[in-house]
């Protein structure tokens, strides 16, 4: 199904994307580059720079960038020095066209992402484009949605280990294409195909198809053509639609039956639950199916791997995050006040009183240095900022045994409990996540959320049946808890199982090995120091469940006949939330 996806082809696409981006940077808004820091990415960046040919002045967002870094503010030190207001310009507050490089885009805070996103749309400002360097691995480390939605064009350099030896394009081709761009004609069929492709891939936003049309236009302009052709549309589908896909265009890879269908347009029927299927199929007129096929095929070939197995569910088979320095969220501007500390106002709200207090003892001494011209002489070190201790949000992770015959009932209980807890979350602002384990997998069915709407939708799709890979489940839950801790949440894990481990990591039914795996995972998970609750729902007494919960340093509760309400209550009691 996947045509050539070797690194040469990927690189060729990437280079073409760079050229197309240089043709219409303002219209595309930006470019998102996936991949680790390294030679390939550096080479790509310098290619982009040379293609843009100095039309933008480049800035780089410091990783610690705040609202003030972006929008500007008072330069306090300089203001004190000059005795007048010295305004420091923000990175976005410029009159010249700006190219802002956003490193580590997956760690950008929601607030900064919000400003970046809004600035792109703001009418009446100088041109602005972004290059986001996204080093995220997996779904729990993604760029904030507000930004990801606006940066359609996505270049994936992760599969390229070495730079292919190829001549890099020159600026002249870009210049010619820029002139050609507005004259390119986009056929109706191309717009329809890209829009329908967006629907089939589960992309709700209309920005993606719009940018795809623009990219197709730029691609045609690059070749000096006056009409968007099939290859342009396919290119746009690969680089814009595929990376934003939230579901595969056909259920569970491609089912072979659909190929034998007499319908010349099998791919036009996406597995759409909301009845958009009919809309996708009906309107395209003659000739459209061809282009529509092209879009779907192109997108399918470059879909993120996880999507093909199960739409919208992140499979975490043995995937571990690399240890990154545990930056948590900034100490907020709310909560219980702590003592003020010296610091720059950019780091927190300014505390005038504490600043004065700090300056007062030195006045006599400083009067000599500054002269008597000032009533109060301040130094940079006097400036104090207020700090607050914020109660960190709690995250309850349910790891639910979805194995075997009784799974359906237990799952229903767990789902009920999740929904009950979520219903309370309006008030408490806490989050809930759910992992289901069965066969040889432990899937995060519900990534940390406080949204009831989303939870209900995802819970409805939960699968069940198969063996019990307890070790895998413990590892996955610990993993999620670890990630959550890094994001400033305080996680509690709730295991809901009958306590048996009978399936190993690789899916073989070997009780002895499965149990030793579970012990190992439990010992490792215990080192995280999260609160853990083990709810044993089996009718019989199993010593193994007790053993594991001791290893986990968990509290063990036996609830053979649990229902959603008592489950929610047990969790509430354990986490001290009720």
């Amino acid at each position: 199904m996947r045509p050539e996806t070797d690194s040469t082809a990927i690189w060729r696409d990437a280079v073409r994307a760079a050229k197309a981006f240089a043709v219409a940077p303002e219209r595309l808004g930006g470019l998102r580059i996936l991949g680790p820091a390294g030679g390939v990415r550096d080479a790509y960046l310098s290619l982009l720079r040379s293609l843009l040919g100095g039309r933008f002045s480049e800035r780089r967002l410091p990783p610690s960038g705040t609202e003030e870094t972006l929008l500007g503010g008072t330069d306090l030190a300089a203001s004190l020095e000059a005795k007048r207001l010295v305004h420091r310009r923000g990175l976005l507050d410029q009159d010249v066209p700006i190219l802002l490089v956003v490193p580590m885009a997956e760690r950008v805070s929601e607030g900064v992402a919000g400003i970046l996103a809004r600035s792109l749309d703001e009418p009446g400002r100088a041109p602005l484009v972004y290059i986001a360097l996204d080093e995220g691995r997996g779904l729990d480390e993604a760029m904030p949605a507000a930004l990801a939605d606006r940066l359609g064009l996505t270049v994936d350099l992760r599969e390229i280990a070495r730079l292919p030896c190829e001549d890099l394009p020159g600026v002249d081709v870009v210049d010619a294409a820029r002139v050609q761009l507005p004259r390119v004609e986009v056929p109706e069929a191309a717009i329809q195909a890209l829009c329908a492709g967006g629907v089939a891939l589960g992309i709700g936003s209309l920005r993606a198809p719009l940018q795809a049309v623009t990219l197709a236009r730029a691609s045609a302009a690059l070749d000096g053509r006056g009409l968007v052709a099939d290859e342009d549309v396919a290119f746009a589908a690969r680089l814009i639609l595929a990376p934003h896909a939230t579901m595969a265009p056909t259920p569970e890879a491609a089912s072979p039956e659909s190929e034998t269908d007499a319908d010349p347009d099998p791919d036009a029927s996406p597995p759409d639950r909301r009845g958009e299927e009919a809309a996708a199929e009906a309107p395209p007129g003659q000739g459209v199916p061809d282009m529509h096929d092209i879009v779907i095929e192109a997108a399918r070939a470059s879909l993120p791997a996880g999507l093909l197995s199960k739409a919208g569910v992140s499979s975490r088979k043995g995937k571990r995050r690399q240890g990154k320095s545990g930056a948590s969220r900034k100490s907020g501007r709310r909560g219980r006040p702590l003592a003020s500390r010296p610091g720059a106002p950019a780091q927190g709200p300014f505390d005038l009183l504490a600043t004065l207090k700090a300056a007062v003892p030195w006045q006599r001494l400083r009067a000599k240095g500054f002269g008597a011209s000032r009533r109060i002489a301040f130094g940079r070190g006097d400036i104090h900022i207020r700090r607050y201790r914020e109660r960190s949000e709690s995250l309850t992770i349910f790891a639910v045994d979805a194995s075997g015959s009784t799974a359906a009932q237990r799952l229903a209980e767990a789902k009920g409990a999740v929904e009950l807890l979520l219903a309370d979350c309006y008030v408490r602002r806490d989050q809930v996540a759910l992992i289901a384990f069965r066969k040889a997998q432990a899937d995060v069915i519900l990534p940390p959320t406080r949204s009831l709407v989303r939870a209900k939708r995802l819970l409805a799709e939960m699968p069940s049946g198969g063996g019990t890979p307890l070790g895998l489940a413990i590892a996955a839950a610990a993993d999620l808890a670890d990630t959550a801790t890094r994001n400033g949440l305080s996680p509690t894990i709730v295991f809901l199982t009958d306590g048996g481990a009978n399936t190993t990591r690789d899916g073989t039914a070997d009780r002895a090995r499965a149990e030793s795996e579970a012990r190992l995972a439990a010992r490792r998970a215990a080192t995280l120091g999260s609160r853990i609750l083990m709810i044993d729902v089996s009718r019989r007494d199993r010593p193994f469940a007790r053993e594991i919960s001791t290893l986990l340093d968990a509290r063990y509760v036996k609830l053979p006949r649990s229902d959603a309400a008592s489950l929610a209550m047990a969790v509430g009691l354990h986490t001290g939330q009720r």
Partner: protein, 356 residues
């Protein structure tokens, strides 16, 4: 490329009828108290607000005023302008209708204003540095992802939006200045919900969904593409439509105060609110205000039942008592109640005289 970006024409927006109607109502009758638009990303929520602001005629403002006071409305002047107007007739300037966006990470200082640090430290003067509220005066304050905003900020926002005045009492400052703006909040319910206590303080609630009809999606993309390809020409093509709409809004503003509401319509509104179980009187008030604004936009001299039916979902759907486990949409409940009431009224015309 050096051309400054221009706003996408309001009349060229495809679909999103409810969102467009809601912002038009707010532009005609700001006292409805803000619009909350919940729904998918990339569906043109901010485009609608920006387009509408660009369509409205520029405002006359006191030239020296930091809050953009209206020289022709003496009762709404800020204290500084009052001082000035006592001395002499103030110079005026024209300014476009402001659209201020509140970034998600904005601090309280930045929103409500704060002590002017520079003046405090370098000259020892206690001065007020206006925040975003001041900037948004007489225009729109647009908040993306209002559901992710810190709760205390949302409290302040709603309070100021309702009172039309920003009162700052902090750091030894005591300032009050006019802050009359139309609050537009947006959000995606998939990313967290707004505290229910805050929900019903927004006047209108619209659900914005990405168009599911392919033809409509194609049309959105086609127009937007044409706009980006040549913004100037696109704007010219829609200028006449925008001008017509501007006239409609201006006429409606002049007329809205005189739109009559018959007792029948009032009774229907009250019965509807009782039937769906909204808390308090705010629902009825907003419902009638919104209905009057729509009637004024339509050029009608009184509110018809059809108009009331048209605005009822957006005025009421967020005020229903809700059970978090209840899946049934609130719009459905309102429509059900409406059709029952109308059927009842039709069968007993003598008692109410209400006809759909």
């Amino acid at each position: 490329m050096d051309a400054m970006r221009i706003a996408y024409p309001f009349s060229a927006i495809v679909g999103q009828d409810e969102m467009k109607l809601a912002v038009l109502i707010a532009a005609v009758e700001p006292s409805v108290g803000g619009v909350l638009a919940f729904g998918d990303r990339g569906t043109g929520k901010s485009t609608a607000v920006r387009g509408l602001a660009a369509l409205l005629p520029p405002l006359k403002a006191v030239a020296a005023c930091r809050y953009g006071c209206d020289p022709d409305a003496p009762e709404s002047l800020c204290s500084e302008c009052r001082e000035r107007s006592r001395a002499a007739r103030a110079k005026t300037r024209l300014m476009p209708v402001p659209v201020v966006e509140l970034p998600l990470g904005a601090s309280e200082d930045r929103v409500i204003g704060a002590l002017d640090l520079e003046q405090a430290l370098t000259r020892g003067v206690k001065a007020f540095e206006p925040g975003l509220f001041a900037k948004a005066n007489r225009g729109f304050l647009y908040i993306d992802e209002v559901n992710l905003l810190e709760d205390h900020l949302v409290d302040v926002l709603l309070d100021v939006a309702a009172s039309g005045e920003n009162v700052v009492e902090r750091e030894g400052l005591s300032v009050r200045h006019p802050a009359r703006f139309v609050l537009i909040g947006t959000g995606n319910p998939e990313e967290g919900e707004l505290r229910p206590q805050l929900l019903d303080r927004f006047g209108l609630f619209v659900e914005v969904t990405t168009p599911t009809d392919l033809a409509q999606r194609v049309e959105v993309v086609r127009r937007r593409e044409a706009f980006e390809n040549d913004p100037g020409a696109f704007q010219d093509a829609w200028r006449a439509d925008d001008a017509r709409l501007r006239q409609k809004v201006l006429a409606a503003r002049g007329k809205v105060a005189t739109v009559a509401v018959s007792d029948d319509v009032r009774i229907l509104a009250a019965r509807l609110c009782m039937a769906v179980g909204t808390d308090g009187l705010r629902g009825e008030l907003t419902l009638l205000r919104a209905a009057r604004a729509v009637a004024a936009l339509d050029g009608a001299s009184d509110v018809s039942v059809a108009t009331l039916v048209r605005v009822a979902p957006m005025a009421l759907r967020h005020r229903l008592r809700r059970d978090p486990m209840d899946e049934a949409g609130s719009s459905v409940r309102i429509e059900r109640a409406l059709s029952e009431l109308l059927a009842e009224a039709a069968s007993a015309p003598a008692s109410f005289g209400v006809r759909a």
